[in-house]
């Protein structure tokens, strides 16, 4: 076989990189960072316009910026980065050559061309239709064509990923089951296939409609199928960033999953049910019955929420166990206090976990409740929620992963090493502020995607309460922090990747895939599977509540109590609203 068999072993991490896979990871990561840069610059325009005291842009530019910001962030930055993660978790973690790197490059260039074409359409000025592009509001044909090209490219990348799994299995580069992180990536890839297929189902006819081959697109069908793409694409993120949490816990602490069975079953629940949450967007729409709404919006009885709650316990739980084994056993929280808070890979990951759970998770379930959705549908609460999930959750997790990847994948020393420890805090806390204040404004009824909440010049204006204006100002100020954090990230990563000091790899040599095969495992696989037992010894004494991770359990209970309180406060609020039936 004429395949490239260049492998190198990273001396610092022991990871094995296949060169063609490595190049694809780099290319995708760089494209992701460029999208993040573009989206970030656009974010300034959006946020400083919403802050009424500044009100920077005129309406047409505001809507244009908002459209481009949404697409570059929600689609291009995140999916490019996810493709890098797919290559990393298949080729690198399975120590396997990448199947068909050539096709991987075709996919990459399709995605690049698609992203450029879509941005071209938006910046022309006639396609300010937002990320959602709800028909019958139409955009320039290149808008849809760009998205379709990008999606098909991403789909091809997913199949390169699946093909690599097949190669790894048949060439026996690993034994037994794939690593948990790879399993998380499989979950993400499966959701990606569903997402992209749904995108194609709706965007292809919409493209044909935009060029005049079809004369009608039904708005309700569009919204239903579009959200199978729009919302599920964010579910790819959830699966991917949960996999990244596990990876960082493993890399930084050597943490082992509390139990493979529980974590994998939780991912399995994602595979089955996470995509159903696309119905969150249709709870206030006519015509769909409450049966469909309730079943889908609850991910089939909240089984995917259950899965997230499990991951939210097992990731910090596995860190706690690893820390306790290192001797941080005092009290409930010594393991957490003595965690490496100055390591941006860890602090970013942990802020991502907390922000995703407390802000994104709780608010997401609230808005995804059929009746409660009436209170916040299409208000700024929605962007508030997804800035907690996609930005604090996914983006911050991806950022923390890059701190690990710069020396390992790009083989560069980190530049601005004094600044890096601060970056996750500035970005994470700033963005948590943005989420919180946007949600606050949304609760007060402020609409999303709205240029002027003062309704200047309108004969029948609505006067929002002063607190809503305050929320918008606070969101603006927080977003400046977040923006500075984002700029720090790009300075560190771009600086390191292009100008950082090269790390020479003494062990670099070609080895064939055959040599890359693992040997037969040692029959006595005992030392590794003693987690549970060893963990027990690290628990709090021999009292009645002997747990491996008591501190995490306490944190989980704090989470649950906040969840329950917030959930029922909203029902209480709903009960005061005008009766509707």
């Amino acid at each position: 076989m004429a395949v490239n068999r260049m492998f190198r072993t990273c001396p610092a991490s022991g990871l094995v990189f296949h060169e063609p896979a490595e190049n694809l990871m780099k290319a995708n990561a760089v494209a992701a960072a460029v999208s993040l840069l573009v989206g970030g610059i656009l974010a300034i325009g959006v946020t400083l316009t919403r802050w009424q005291a500044v009100h920077m842009l005129p309406p047409d530019s505001f809507y244009l910026f908002l459209t481009a910001h949404g697409l570059n962030m929600l689609v291009f930055w995140i999916i490019f980065f996810e493709m890098a993660i797919l290559y990393f978790t298949s080729s690198t973690l399975l120590k396997c050559r990448l199947a068909a790197p050539g096709i991987g490059w075709v996919a990459f260039w399709m995605m690049v061309v698609g992203a450029l074409m879509n941005n071209y359409a938006v910046f022309r000025g006639d396609s300010s239709v937002m990320f959602t592009a709800y028909a019958p509001m139409g955009a320039h044909p290149t808008f849809y064509l760009g998205l379709i090209l990008f999606a098909v490219g991403a789909l091809i990348s997913c199949f390169v990923f699946f093909a690599t799994l097949v190669v790894a299995k048949s060439e026996k580069t690993y034994n037994g089951s794939v690593p948990l992180v790879t399993f998380g990536a499989i979950t993400a890839a499966i959701i990606a296939v569903f997402t992209i297929a749904s995108g194609a189902i709706i965007l292809v006819p919409t493209f044909l409609w935009s060029v005049g081959f079809i004369d009608h697109i039904d708005s309700l069908v569009y919204r239903t199928v579009f959200w199978a793409f729009g919302h599920s694409s964010q579910q790819i993120n959830v699966s991917a960033h949960v996999a990244v949490w596990y990876a960082i816990a493993a890399i930084v602490f050597g943490a082992k999953p509390l139990s493979e069975k529980v974590s994998r079953t939780a991912f399995f629940l994602y595979i089955c049910f996470l995509q159903l949450a696309s119905a969150h967007h249709l709870l206030a729409d006519p015509g769909l019955t409450s049966n469909w709404k309730i079943f889908n919006t609850s991910y089939a009885m909240y089984l995917a929420v259950l899965a997230s709650m499990v991951h939210g316990l097992t990731v910090p739980g596995s860190i706690e166990v690893a820390q306790r084994q290192k001797g941080y056993t005092n009290g409930l929280f010594e393991w957490l206090r003595k965690a490496p808070w100055g390591n941006p890979a860890f602090s970013g990951m942990f802020l991502s976990l907390i922000g995703f759970g407390f802000l994104g998770g709780i608010s997401g379930v609230m808005m995804g409740t059929e009746q409660l959705n009436l209170l916040i549908h299409n208000t700024l609460y929605v962007p508030g929620h997804f800035h907690a999930t996609v930005v604090v959750g996914t983006t911050l997790a991806f950022m923390s992963l890059t701190y690990f990847l710069i020396p390992v994948l790009f083989r560069r020393q980190m530049m601005f090493a004094g600044m890096a420890p601060w970056q996750p805090y500035v970005f994470g806390l700033g963005m948590m502020g943005v989420s919180l204040f946007l949600m606050g404004a949304g609760t007060l009824g402020v609409p999303r995607r709205h240029w002027d909440i003062a309704f200047a010049g309108n004969p029948l204006p609505y006067e929002f309460p002063g607190s809503a204006w305050l929320m918008m100002a606070l969101a603006g100020i927080s977003s400046i922090f977040a923006f500075v954090g984002g700029a720090m990230y790009l300075a560190i990563t771009v600086g390191s990747v292009f100008f950082g000091k090269k790390i020479e790899t003494p062990g670099f040599k070609e080895i064939s895939a055959q040599q890359g095969m693992v040997g037969r495992p040692q029959p006595a696989a005992a030392p590794a599977d003693t987690t549970v037992i060893a963990g027990h010894q690290g628990g709090v004494g021999a009292g009645g509540m002997c747990m491996v991770a008591p501190g995490t359990f306490v944190l989980a209970i704090v989470f649950l109590v906040s969840f329950v309180l917030y959930y029922f406060i909203n029902w209480k609020y709903l009960s005061t609203v005008w009766p509707l039936r």
Partner: protein
């Protein structure tokens, strides 16, 4: 696959069968099928059927 061997006390060395649920989780293509079929049926197909069934106004 006859790789790992569980030391099983004083028994003879034997291969413990892999439980069906683990076999499912180890099979990415079966998972791919489930992950596409479930939401396609429950969300898209049922949803579009409901939309199509909306009655025409009198």
């Amino acid at each position: 696959m006859s790789n790992a061997i569980q030391p099983a006390g004083d028994h003879e060395v034997f291969e413990e069968p892999v439980p069906p649920m683990q076999q499912l989780l180890d099979n990415p293509f079966l998972l791919l099928f489930i992950g596409i079929a479930v939401p396609t049926v429950l969300y898209i197909v049922l949803g579009v059927m409901e939309i199509v069934a909306i009655p025409i106004a009198k």
